[in-house]
Amino acid sequence: MNWLNVHARAFAQAVTRLASQPLGTLLSAMVVGIALSLPAAGFVLLENVATLARGVSGTPEISLFLEQGAGVDDVGEITRRLQQEAAVASFRHVSREEALLQLERGGLGDVLGGLGSNPLPDAFVVTPRGESPELYERLHALFSNWPAVEHVQLDSAWVQRLHALLGLGKSAVLLLAGLLGFALVIVTFNTIRLQILTLRHEIDVSRLLGATDPFIRRPFYWFGSLQGALGGLVALATVWLSVEALGPPAASLAATYGAVFSLSGPGLHEALAIIAFAAFLGWLGSAISVRRHLAERLV
């Protein structure tokens, strides 16, 4: 209970300090918020691009082409094996007759008619359970070793490209977040340094009266955390406003490609994570500053 009381007191003190300088608080929150909004917006953009890419390209599939001489027994065996494979989400059998019919409908009837017999093999179109390139590689190797399977066509190149692009994007966003997070730590460090200089007399007097270092430090920790959290809220508001502004034109652009797409902002968990991250950086900046500037004994 005492622990709660001392933190409640330090929290109230930090809020009072923030409220006593509304313009300074607003400006600091804006600086922190705008700095954080860039990586936050980058993260949101990546999530939306990933969703859009999945929507446009459909679910990636693996095609199994059987040998020309494969019979009903072979088709049955492959069907049985696919049913037992846990990594297979669904599959469908495309008979050689059905494949021929599809090609004829596609306008190749004259060409195929000249061949005399149906040159197309039985085939299976498999949808794996998951999208990781590793899974696709594993299934490719597995299917290639099955009897009567002539060729396995792995349509994973685009999956790999997408993953590579998203990975690159994530790395860029993380790098940006790291750099701007460092800037946030510096901003808080400097704010707390100025506060310590301003409150030097009060700190001196408190120490003379028996204040411990944690007693003096706590309000600064809370101040830094609250300033960071306020900056996080500004960043969220910036991202949300951007999403609202860019949503309609993005939807119009997607419609020209025949896709339905709506730009979405960060969800509840992402929003909380952004605020918590900002508060943590604020705390870190204040902790370093307090450690640096209160280490000098003032009395």
Binding site: N2, H201, L208, F215
Partner: protein, 221 residues
Amino acid sequence: MINFEQVVKSYPGGYTALAGVSFEIRHGELVVLSGHSGAGKSTLLKMIAAIERPSSGSVKINGQDISHLKPTAIPYLRRSLGLVLQESRLLFDRSVAENVMLPLVITGHPPRDAAKRVVAALERVGLGGRDREMPAGLSGGEQQRVAIARAIVNRPSILIADEPTAHLDSAYADEIAKLFKSFNEAGVTVLVSTHDDKLFAEYRPSRLVLGKGLLIGAAAS
């Protein structure tokens, strides 16, 4: 209660503030520490509050050697002392009551009990009913009284004052001296430094006289 044994305090550069001082103050004594400027009075008082550490020798309070006290233990030592400095060292953006309450806030006193103690301390120094005023609106003597109220609000067993009347005229100074005497009569050990030998004369205190860092005179009451 307070025991100095061959205490030396020298600073980098060669200046020696105390050059081997030894004395003992018993519980309930009123002791006046006098000497010219630069005699080492402030340094001696600061050592009792662990603001300064001796270069050699030992300082004991209630039998505990505080010469090598851990930094984390110093605040708890200071809470057991009442400290009044030459300047009042009040917080001028806080009311009189908030200033006096500060030691109780630091020690985590329940707010209701703390408020009662503040009222009592202010009445004790003759400032009853002025708790909501700001220090800037008070005279120098009144500000020093607020500082004294702040020093006694935690009910310390030792009260240390470093030239508390230095900036006051003789009428105010006499009132402050009377206050210290009243605390002493209530059982508090009082050690007060002054360059005015006549100030406490009528109370017949014990005396310590410093000169150039040495104890050049001592007299029990």
